[in-house]
Every structure is written in C-alpha cells, then in structure tokens.
Point group: C2
Chain length 342, copies 2
DNA sequence: TTGAAAGCGCTAACAA
DNA sequence: TTGTTAGCGCTTTCAA
C-alpha cells in the first residue's frame, strides 16, 4: 500500500531542491537539469509519491477528470465504451465520470456545461446520439472545452471525431444478402435523423442500386431502433402479400424483434427468411438463431477517443491527434441468414 | 448558463458578511442567524454560485466523488446500477467515478485503495462479486473509507449492505415449477463460492425439499454463470436417459444457453421443456421464447446504496442509514415455462 | 537551470 | 452568532 501523507514539500526537502523544481519534474518541464531530475525522480519513486489531484487542479484549473456523456438505451454499448476509455485514460492518470443525459432535452447544452463546470472536467467524450448535436459541439468550442465525438460517418474535422464507417458495413451486408441469392430484400431503417441510421441506410440502398437491385418502396420502412419496433415493422413486412425473403435491420435490437415476429407468424429463420442486424451486441450471439450482423468496433473507438481527448487536453503530440480516427465495422455471419432457394 | 468566476469571496462581499459565514451557509451549519442565512442564500441563488469542488476538497479532504467498483461480465447490470446510483447522488452534488477491477486478483485491495487515494474518493459502492470479499471490506474499514456493499443474502450489519433476498426469489421459482406439475426438475447453479449462487441454490433446493421433492443428485449441476456453461450443462441434462422436464438456471445467461442446447437437440420449449433463469436482464425478454425468470430489482438497490453511502459520508441523519436495506426479487412469467402434461 | 513567494477557492481553529 | 487567520498541496509569476 502506497504511503499516505507524502507531499511535494517532503519530496523537495528529501531531495534537497525547491518545491518548484519538484513541480517541474512532475510536469515534465524540459527546464530541469538532468542530474536534478534523476535525483528527484528517484525520491519520488522511493516514497511512492503521487501528486494530489485536487491540489493540482485547484492550482492549475485542471481536474484530471474526463466526462462521458451519453443518452443511449443500449447498456451494452455504454459498458463497452466505458471499458475502452478507462483502459487508456487510467494509464494516463485520468478518471472517468459518467453522465447520462437526455439528448432531446431543450437544456441539453446547459446540462452538459453544468456537469463540466461542477466537476471541472478536463474534457468530455460524446456518444451518439448526443455526439450528433452540432449545437452542443459549438457551445463546447465556444467554452473551449476539449471534446471528442464518437459518430458514424465521415467528417473532415478529424481531430474532433472518432468515426465508424457504418456505410461500408451496410454495403457489405447488401452484397452478402445478394450473394445468398435473395431476390426480395427489405430494410428496416433506424430513425433517419440519426447519423448512424442514415449512413447505414444509404450504404445499403446505394449498394443495392449499384447492383441493379433497388429496394421497392414497400420494402423500406423506418423503425425506432427499439425491439418493439422490430416486432411491429417485421410483422408488417412479413404479412405483405409478396413478403421479403431477407430483412436487414438497422440494429440488433430490431432484428431481434423481427425474429420474434417471424416466430409468431410461424415463419422459419433462416429457412424461409433471413434476418440480419447491425452492432453485434451481446444479444446477437445469444438469440436463437444467432444473428448475422455487422460488428461495430466499439472498444477500439473508445480507446482512440480517450487517446485523442487526452492529446487535445495536454496539447502536445499533435501527431497522436490526427491518426486513427476511422474504424471499420465488419460482417459477422451466424445462423439467421441462409441461401435463398426459391 | 451559470456564471463562471463567482467565488466565495464575491458572495461574502455581495452579502456583506465574512467568507466564513458564507462557508457556514453552504455547509448548512446550524450556527448561522436565520436572517443572515436567508440573505446569503439569496445572493448565492441570484448569482448562481456553486462552490468549487476541488477547493472544498483540498480544504476539507473531501472530493464529492463516489466510486463504483465492479468486476462483472454483465454489462446490463452495471449500467442499471450506474443509472440508479447517479439518479440519487447527482441530486446530492456527488459525481460517480467508475472502476472495473479483477476481483480475483491478488492485489485487488491495493488496486481499490489506490483508486480511492488517487481520486480522493469520499466513498465507494461495491458490486458483487467484489462486494463479497470480506477481506476488502476489512481493509476499507481499516482505512476508514465509507462503503456500501450490494449483495445477495442477509447480513446483520445493515448499514454496510444493500441486500437482495435471492433466496426468496428462488423459493418462488421452486413453487412455481411445482405448481406447473413438473416432476423432474433440475437446477444449474452458479459457482457456489458466490454468495448469490449459494442463496439461490439453497432457496431452491430447500423449498423443493420442504415440498417433499428433493432434487436427485444427477439433476443438480454447478455451472459458471456463462452462456457457454448453460449450453454445456444443458446439453448434459437433456441427454440424460431420464431427462428433466424443467431446468432452473442460476441466471438468465445460462438459461439462454440451455435454450440453445434444447434448440440444438430439437427439444421444444416450453412444450417439452420448461426453462427459467434469474435476473431478468435485457436478454430475458428478447430471447425466443421469452424467459420466465426472477427479476432482481437492481435500480432500487442502486438508489438505496447511493442513499446509504452518502448518509454514511455525511454522518448525519442516521435514520436514513438503517432503513431500506433489503429488496425483494419477484417472479416474472413469460413463455419459456409451461404446464407439464406427461 | 533554479528558488521565493503568492495564490487557486475553500474549510477550520480560535477568537471575539 | 460571526470574523480573523492560517493553511490544504500544488502551480506559477518573477527574479536570481
């Protein structure tokens, strides 16, 4: 167990230099003699000294606290992000403070700003859909709060974003379903004001079109991303006179709903119907039949986000800020899709 | 948007009293004249003043930060807890810092202590199974760190615990399965060194025994709580010469595994086999057939935990510490269980 | 390259 | 009941 009450003064005394010099060593200031530096570092090591965050914060207006702002019904996603972020930031001496919010709320901005101010956060990570609210980003820019946004899609401002190329993922799925010889393919999209839904939707239909297989209007439905919506829209599609043989859903939740609808209607998956989702959350592998889906690389995104954010906060190593901003979802083939042999 | 740079000095000046008095008002000291108090409060309100946490912390060795320590594969559970805790503690001016750990690790204690020290946490909430490590609790007692443990089962030390009576829940399930006329009932327990597994196991078999329906040894298997274990143990039970007609699993994850095993073996649920779990996590309602299970009231537990912890930290209102420490799981009947008509 | 001293915003003895 | 005066442990001008 590390010692309890060692302060910068002790270290200064013990190593025969001034407080100021110890401070310089702690903060890796270049203006310290090599000898002095080594001497001080040795004492720090020896006494297992860790600078007090609050004191540092009070003196420098920093807190070594990062905020995670989200409004997402998907617990699995949040947990994954948290672990990813923590794996990076705890090495760097930062802690993570979590903050659920209501992204549609009119006082979202104030709420987030207040959160930042109350805890003197050094920076925040925004998860979708809160990350898609440009107005919030503007306010943060305005207040000079460092932030990173996790989003689907593409942006030029690479140092504010970690992006997932959902469009490609959806395109892969389109190709996969066609390779299975499906002729009647439907899609249940997410709410199209979400960036991720839009990307997946466009990736899918454009690819279908490029293969001369445009989706008929009746095979294209907007859902809510919720399980219940999957049931409802699934039921609708499956009771169509000419029902589809494959349904691609914007996420695994809705795909589960479609599975439920199919089950209720006595339609066998994958024999009579192929169903696939997007995300590859826990559900996808547990459900029967296990879902074919597109795996969103959440962990890596979270790690990149933490990396970028800390780089921005510390303002050094600009290289680190630029790279690794786009991540690629990949197709995971399981049991809910099959060859169409009509 | 709240003003930025107001300090206690401004408030003192503005309300014509000393800094110390403002401090007293902020900290709800009783030793302030009613008039003075109102006057100061009005100014505080008017200028939207919020005391600086770091400064307060530095001066009083407090941080207004609570820690959540967990090592649990179940993301859904974590997320639920987080939201429950936050709903209470953010009202009280505390923030939540999350900390995954490896509860089996030999340096668990040091790791947690270090986490507390680094962030100067005011207190922590321990989730199972880390909450079941008495040694860790001892160390915390030793270091005078306030904590609350979420556990299954019962303890006399009510102010350190928020408890879930899993034993009762399991007993309910036993009675339910018997009411369905099942004669051959099996159970896949969790690892019995977990308190929750033990409680559920004992609650179940004791109740069966009390109904003169002791479980034969071959119908009692210890699993790992993981999905894969459910598949494995399920397959085993279902290929027994005299296979059970009902299987109660220690959690929903394993119950999902049993469903998978049954599906692979062509055994219909609930027609030929009833399967039930425990927890009522997201999976339970999504899977087909939807799982009959025991709902663990996670949110309320989390709220109570936050409540207790803050009461302990602030050391006032001892009443609040005593009450509400036990919570009761309840049976949720869905589609995976049915009447046995052999 | 180093050090002395002031101060970040607050709480806490001790007086008054 | 209120105010004065020191700090809490660190960073940061400024000077040496």
């Amino acid at each position: 167990m590390p010692n309890e009450k060692i302060t910068i003064n002790d270290i200064a005394r013990l190593s025969g230099v001034s407080k100021r010099t110890v401070s310089r060593v702690i903060n890796q200031s270049p203006k310290v003699g090599e000898q002095t530096k080594l001497k001080v570092e040795k004492i720090i090591e020896q006494y297992n000294y860790v600078p007090d965050k609050q004191a540092r914060g009070l003196a420098s207006s920093r807190s070594y606290l990062l905020g995670l702002v989200y409004d997402n019904p998907d617990a699995l996603y949040i947990d994954d992000v948290q672990r990813g972020v923590l794996s990076f930031c705890s090495k760097k001496g930062y802690e993570l403070v979590v903050h659920p919010c209501r992204y549609k709320s009119p006082d979202l901005n104030d709420n987030v700003l207040d959160f930042i101010r109350r805890s003197k956060l050094d920076g925040i990570i925004l998860l979708p859909p809160a990350s898609e609210v440009d107005e919030l980003a503007d306010v943060l820019d305005n207040k000079q709060v460092p932030y990173v946004r996790l989003v689907s899609g593409f942006s030029e401002k690479t140092d504010d974003f970690v992006m997932s190329n959902d469009r490609h993922g959806a395109a892969d799925m389109a190709r996969f379903l066609v390779s299975l010889k499906h002729q009647k393919i439907a899609m249940i999209t997410g709410p199209l004001h979400y960036r991720s839904s839009k990307e997946r939707y466009e990736g899918f239909i454009h690819t279908m079109e490029s293969m001369d297989r445009p989706l008929p209007e009746s095979y294209l439905i907007e859902g809510t991303n919720l399980y219940e919506s999957g049931i409802e829209k699934g039921k609708h599609l499956l009771t169509l006179e000419d029902r589809p043989t494959a349904i691609f859903c914007n996420n695994d939740e809705m795909a589960s709903g479609v599975l439920k609808a199919a089950s209720d209607l006595g339609i066998k998956v994958p024999e009579q119907l192929s169903v696939c989702g997007f995300d590859d959350n826990l559900l996808a592998s547990r459900i029967i039949p296990a879902l074919t889906t597109i795996k969103r690389p959440v962990r890596p995104m979270a790690v990149y986000a933490a990396n970028k954010l800390i780089a921005k906060i510390e303002g050094n190593n600009p290289q680190a800020v630029i790279q690794n901003c786009t991540v690629h979802p990949e197709l995971v083939i399981r049991d809910s899709t099959g060859f169409n042999d009509n």
